[in-house]
Symmetry: C2
Subunit: 344 residues, 2 copies
DNA sequence: TTGAAAGCGCTAACAG
DNA sequence: CTGTTAGCGCTTTCAA
């Protein structure tokens, strides 16, 4: 029950505490004889010694901890996983971190909350921030002096590394695809369109594709709410009450699409016959859906992996050149789109 | 950039470091004058002081950290969130912990990995373990000397607190419901059936209900695999290759059911007309499914919340009486079940 | 009501 | 090649 400390090990092995430390950390500047090393290792396993990482962190100023900030989608909501995207991303981050001997300190965040202290508190070695936050909050984080990776944010700042995807291009591909299938009235349905967020880029891509094809962007065809299932249902209602004017929609998140389809089905509107949909993300939901979702695939696992690597690399090299990583996107064709045909 | 420490605050306020500590912790044994308190607080906010929790943990032996161990469903898989159940549970745990000033240290675990050290390392104040693990691994955790909560495990041990649901009863309710709807050949489809796991209880509940009704439990009607979408598809294939002998199935996880339905749809088997399904969990998937899932609802949010409370209470009271918390279940009727009618 | 001092467990110069 | 020493930032007796 009594914790065994480095001193106990030292005593057992008949060496000093620092020697034990050197052996355990493979300290490059010190060189220990095989004999001593062996004795120390034996003492360690005999006593079942496990280093106290808090103490280590105190004196060495590295914690092997990575802080992860996941946005709470909605202020009122307590759950951060209303979108499976976060779960998949977090999985990948956790796995990659663990491979490298790092642990994860996770926290959801309320908009108004000062998440700076969370990190500062624990002396994390780096912070991964998912989503878009107001700039002033981010600025406070700089004072931490550790690498910070922004996932899916277009905040440009030399002090932050970023990892994202070709949001605009993805939206363009999606929209073009619908146009190629004969659709001319195409809705854009997304979560909130915020400065430096992904949705504004996707909106631009959507507009670009429409304009390229000489199609007007109708104000009424643009739906914006929150990134969750419930909003999808709401959007379905709005679509119907606005007169069902589009034959296709580009939706910026699979989870919204799920709700949209559900909402439409409840009103006996068929997908894709009456509304073709190209979605975004390709989370596992996309295959579970009925119909399965034609969607812009992003490699969420890779996103998480790269985020961790950015932290580790930055921590290692100590250089402060900002790195930007953009992952490619591709369209996956499934069953939520059909050709447009004139019913009138 | 330079971290401000308690000493800086002390200097600024013209008091000693210990006084600052007293003020910040509201130490009950010490009593500080309003005047001093005010000066300290002013200095804190002026300097933007944030306590270093590692240091605090070192000297006070509490870390305000809760360790959470999430099983990696499959040895080969790197992702822990193949089942949205974990995401929802973790959300709730995180939220509750944060409300109480605790942070979460999460880790996936490989079966063979010694997750003891993860916790020991960081001096967590408690550990929440989700799922079933081999007993010997758990025993090692006892040496930590902190409260441990087992979620969804039937390991009985005075050193562990447990939180779970009425698995057996839930299965009984589900199976009885199918029987009441006229079904006589009912499949049981689940993840691996392990000692002390939930599925063995659910299997028992299934058997009980069958026997009560005088129905035989057919070996061939029992399918067991892994708790994921892919297995559901596999189970669909098996069901067909074994001759489609059952008119209904009780499936022990919504995520498996999703795969099952998909697998059946691919083979043009209709749900519920050809196979009625009662599922388990009622994760958000259940409503997204087509058809929506009739399923045994469990309150995942409550489960996470209680898990955290068990830790906090145990840490506070220092008593070591084992607490057991069992949450109720109920059937939610949706669209994946219909009455049996004789087609032959 | 406050401060001085010891120490939590570890690392990192610096000696030897 | 190894030990001594001095902290890391905080809490907590104990004394004043």
């Amino acid at each position: 029950m009594k914790r065994v400390s480095i001193k106990d090990v030292a005593k057992e092995a008949g060496v000093s505490a620092s020697t034990v430390s050197y052996v355990l950390n493979n300290t490059p500047t010190e060189t220990i004889s095989q004999e001593t090393k062996k004795r120390v290792l034996e003492a360690v396993s005999k006593l079942g010694y496990v280093p106290n990482l808090n103490a280590r962190s105190l004196s060495s100023r590295r914690s092997n901890l990575i802080g992860v900030l996941i946005p709470q989608t909605e202020p009122g909501k307590e759950l951060m996983f209303s979108n499976p995207f976060y779960g998949e991303l977090l999985s990948s981050i956790e796995y990659t971190a663990r491979q490298h001997g790092y642990h994860l300190l996770i926290s959801g965040t309320k908009e108004d909350q000062d998440y700076l202290s969370i990190a500062q508190n624990r002396g994390v070695d780096g912070v991964i921030i998912v989503g878009t936050y107001p700039g002033e909050n981010l600025n406070a984080l700089k004072t931490l002096g550790v690498p910070i990776v922004l996932v899916d944010s277009y905040v440009k700042d030399d002090d932050f590394h970023t990892i994202g995807i070709e949001d605009k291009e993805g939206a363009r591909i999606a929209t073009r695809y619908l146009i190629a299938r004969g659709h001319r009235h195409i809705a854009f349905i997304s979560g909130s369109i915020r400065e430096n967020g992904v949705n504004i880029k996707r909106y631009q891509g959507y507009c670009d594709a429409m304009q390229e094809a000489g199609l007007p962007v109708d104000e009424e065809a643009v739906y914006s709410g929150t990134v969750d299932y419930e909003y999808g249902i709401t959007a379905a209602d709005q679509y119907l009450s606005r007169g069902k004017k589009q034959s296709a929609a580009f939706v910026t998140a699979d989870v919204i699409t799920m709700g949209l389809i559900k909402g439409l089905q409840q009103k006996h509107v068929r997908v894709p016959e009456e509304l073709s949909i190209v979605s975004f993300d390709d989370v596992y939901l996309a295959q579970m859906a009925y119909p399965t979702l034609t969607t812009i695939h992003q490699d969420i696992g890779e996103k998480g992996k790269q985020a961790v690597h950015l932290i580790l690399d930055a921590a290692r090299s100590k250089e402060h050149h900002h790195t930007e990583c953009i992952l490619p996107l591709r369209l996956v064709e499934r069953d939520s789109v059909c050709d447009w045909r004139d019913d009138s």
